[in-house]
């Protein structure tokens, strides 16, 4: 596996997005799902929220070019649409730090090599405010050591063993890994009564 698949750490400018329970319909409204490719999804990230709120962080000049998104609780809940992380990725997001994540969204991010790390409510709020004060300063998301560094402060930010191993080891592009099981896949199927016939 090529080393450029490894996501040991991601460094870049931050963008804070306050609020809890931001769902994937909000990240990318369903009408933009009428497409047979993911191309162009980036320009529709948070489209309705941005139109309704000119001050939306994704509209702010200071955050253009940012790559580390900092969010609240239950970010990405709702629909399984991979269009949501695809839109964020194509907008420029490379890593997300938050209070907690919707589970399918989290998994979809791993499949795209986007680490999502969980930090405490207090640390998330601190980081959001710190980035707002110094948007040009880089945030470093260290997946391997499970910490986020901003200026001289280090906060703890965790990601469970499985996804962390995938991201750090560069095995998040899972098709190749799953194919390695070879005939064991069919052997497992043959043990199932509904596959072989009851």
């Amino acid at each position: 596996m090529s080393t450029n698949f490894k996501r040991r750490q991601v460094s870049g400018r931050g963008i804070p997005l306050p609020g809890n329970d931001i769902d994937t319909d909000r990240i990318i409204p369903a009408r933009f799902l009428k497409a047979v490719t993911f191309e162009g999804m980036g320009e529709h990230a948070f489209e309705d929220a941005r139109k309704q709120n000119p001050e939306h962080p994704f509209n702010q000049k200071a955050y253009q070019g940012a790559s580390v998104l900092v969010v609240g609780q239950n970010f990405g809940c709702g629909s399984s649409r991979e269009h949501a992380p695809q839109a964020l990725m194509r907008w420029g997001i490379r890593a997300i730090v938050g209070g907690s994540f919707g589970e399918i969204f989290f998994g979809n991010c791993v499949m795209l090599g986007i680490p999502c790390l969980v930090a405490s409510q207090a640390d998330v709020e601190w980081l959001q405010k710190a980035i707002a004060r110094a948007p040009q300063q880089p945030v470093t998301v260290d997946v391997e050591t499970q910490e986020v560094r901003f200026g001289d402060r280090i906060i703890k930010a965790t990601v469970s063993d499985g996804p962390r191993n995938q991201l750090v080891g560069g095995t998040w592009d899972s098709t190749a890994v799953l194919l390695e099981a070879g005939a064991a896949i069919e052997a497992t199927a043959r043990r199932l009564p509904y596959v072989v016939g009851y």
């Binding site: 609020g19 239950n74 709702g78």
Partner: protein
Amino acid sequence: MARTLLDKVWEAHTVRTLPSGQTQLLIGLHLIHEVTTPQAFQMLKELKLTVRMPERTFGTLDHIIPTADQTRPYADPLAEDMAAHMYKNTKEFGLPLFDMASGRQGIVHVIGPELGLSQPGMTIACGDSHTSTHGAVGAIAFGIGTTQVRDVLATQCLAMAKPKLRQVRVDGALAKGVYAKDVILAIIGTLGVKGGVGYAYEYAGPIIERMTMEERLTVCNMSIEGGARCGYVNPDATTIEYLRGRPYTPAGAAFDRAAAWWKTMATEPGAKFDDVARLDGAAIEPVVTWGINPGMSVGVSQRIPSPDSQPEPERPTFHEALAHMGFEAGQPIKGAKIDVAFVGSCTNGRLSDLRIAAEVAKKGKVAKHVRALIVPGSQQVARAAEAEGLHEIFQAAGFQWRKAGCSMCLGMNDDKLQGREMSASSSNRNFIGRQGSPTGRTLLMSPAMVAAAAITGVVTDVREILR
């Protein structure tokens, strides 16, 4: 040691433990639809891979399907393009597609159980978060993203971590006018929209056990709205009788052998759970959401809560919800004016849902200012409803009788809210913009409550109409 259904299904489908520590899990049934698969097929082609077990994948068309005029090409060129890709991809990879001509088309989570494709003891995946629905038959079923759809097509497997298990017990008996939808909204209201993250939910207790399969499908459908990626009910006599005689279940002696195996997959007495939650079912009244996620709900006799009554971190979302919905804290939900009524979706688009909505529709006419749609969950549901004359009851009362599809649940076809319209909806999500208008508003409730709101024009306690 006594084992749970989750333990047994997980073990039976484990191919190996991956270097990452996750399980390589075999997927017994893969369901696909037109919205989350074109990119997966494209990736498959780029990788020069085939579908590993084409006999284990079934497709349908649901999200973008017009429910009024279904003449091809569809009026919306983007919808037509997505349908055309679905035809092309399923043909190229040799996968069955339940299209309009099949007579079996419908919402993927309605047709899976209805055709007997979804069976106890299976692992089921689909590029749609409401795949949790299929857990009602005793399967472990979860939604996946498009890149994972590619994985299932290419390898029939997923890399997954086994979730923790919470048993959610609903005790007592339901009052008249209270339905499965009210039960799951009450569960989400109690445990929260993120309470289930990291968990699978096993629904149990006397109320769940007495539920029909269609009611169980409604409950499991909204597991994801409580944060749980999958939810299931243990297979029992109700499950077996529901599956008997379905097109894709075995027949004759093979059915009995299947049923015997299904029963062995149920959670054993004395099995341990990571957590147990209990609800008093007798205390549940018809539930209505007032906010912008499915956990923001109240009983129909209650008032909209004040943000000040909430823990501090939740308050901004409450303020946002009140502002979006145009509600005041302390206002009763009953009497809130609606503009649109929608009965349908993978949550509540089955025959029993249409029957109860029709029962209410008989009591009046759709209010003059209300646009009311009945959208059956599948072609089979539509035919069965028409055979009973339900469509005539609806039409006589002023409801539009539409063709099967996802429709106004997410507004990917022409069925959308306009502007700030307020919708009484039997669907599953009240997220901002969900029903097709960025400023549209959604009140989730049972199909009976939707029908009641349609004829009175305001949120109404259906028990007063059914009395």
